[in-house]
């Protein structure tokens, strides 16, 4: 829209979500350029790897600061999985832990000024949600065969109502990846847009009237950090619930 959208000082609250090509690439007519979004993902992966490798390198009996941080994140995801899936979910710990750390770091790095929030793009969150959805569905069919379809047939429904109920259950099942991805994307995008809008108010009102939006912005940054953590947690916990549904048919 505006020509100065690439300028980080642009007033447009949506300019922060622009995707810029850093290394333009084109394979077979597909645009697979290395963008600022890709760069943030690579930085995130690097930071997570660095954090976990460095903090568990020594493996001291009495953990230091970094080691306890790594142990807290392990414990957090492990106890969440124990509570929602039970012991049979232990095999899937690496997947859920990776997912949680990836989303958490993307959200938190998005809070750094002038950085880019990858999770504010619905295609990224939908990609992650579709991965979870397809993975869980395939897992359910491997584990139970066609018996997995019993998920769509609740107990004690009169036969006359069955066609209606099954269709409703299927729609409800298919809506899972949509609600999973929209929740993360909308939270991140709304929060960052709000921050930018109030940041713009501070500049516009200047030294005289800018103090009120400044105070609001400071409070809102705190809330956004909470939301960044909470949304990563919600994504991981829902992944666990879907895993539980696929593992234990009822």
């Amino acid at each position: 829209m505006s020509t100065d959208a690439h300028n980080p000082f642009s007033h447009s609250p949506m300019a922060q979500f622009e995707i810029n090509r850093i290394v333009p690439m084109n394979i077979g007519g597909l645009d697979v350029s290395f963008t600022n979004s890709s760069l943030m993902m690579v930085i995130t992966l690097g930071l997570i790897t660095l954090f976990l490798m460095m903090s568990t390198r020594r493996g001291a009996l009495v953990p230091g600061r970094w080691q306890s941080l790594a142990e807290i994140s392990y414990e957090f995801v492990a106890s969440m999985m124990r509570d929602t899936v039970g012991d049979s979910g232990r095999k899937f710990f690496p997947f859920v832990f990776t997912l949680f750390m990836f989303i958490l770091f993307l959200n938190m790095l998005g809070m750094v000024p002038y950085s880019f929030t990858v999770t504010s793009h619905i295609i990224v969150t939908f990609g992650l949600a579709a991965l979870v959805f397809i993975g869980v569905t395939v897992l359910g069919f491997i584990k139970h065969g066609f018996g997995y379809l019993k998920l769509f047939v609740p107990h004690g429904v009169p036969a006359a109502l069955l066609p209606l109920i099954v269709v409703i259950e299927v729609i409800s099942y298919l809506s899972r990846p949509i609600s999973l991805s929209v929740r993360l994307f909308a939270n991140m995008m709304a929060g960052h847009t709000m921050l930018k809008v109030f940041g713009g108010f501070i500049v516009m009102l200047g030294f005289i009237g800018g103090w009120l939006p400044l105070a609001f912005s400071v409070a809102f940054v705190g809330l956004e950090v909470l939301v960044a953590f909470l949304q990563a947690y919600v994504f991981a916990v829902l992944t666990c619930i879907y895993l539980n549904d696929a593992l234990h048919l009822h």
Partner: protein, 108 residues
């Protein structure tokens, strides 16, 4: 004078002043709950509408399947919301009683 000025009293006062309001965390998660319920409702309606529209496009039965699946989507959305709310209630009850591992108590 002297007991009020002691280090412990001042530390306690400072900690009380810096403590977050008791409902700060729960307000954030209440907003999260509300958002979770609303996306559960809306996503099912959208999926129902898209299925109906796609079937209409395939079968040439223009508005009828869209209308049917739109309402089925609403029903599925309400089902989603009821289930999510039930699991939230269960989690809250489990949280107030014991925080042990109750493997299969989540969702219906």
């Amino acid at each position: 004078m002297i007991p009020d000025d002691s280090f412990e009293a001042r530390l306690e006062a400072a900690q009380r002043a810096n403590a977050p309001p008791p409902d700060a965390g729960s307000r954030g998660s209440a907003m999260g709950m509300a958002f979770r319920l609303s996306t559960d409702l809306v996503s099912a309606v959208v999926v129902g509408g898209v299925i109906g529209w796609g079937l209409d496009w395939l079968l040439g039965t223009d508005p009828w399947l869209l209308l049917l699946f739109f309402f089925l989507g609403i029903a599925a959305g309400i089902l989603n919301v009821i289930r999510t709310a039930q699991s939230m209630n269960a989690a809250q009850v489990a949280g107030t009683e014991v925080s042990g591992n109750s493997g299969d108590s989540v969702e219906h």
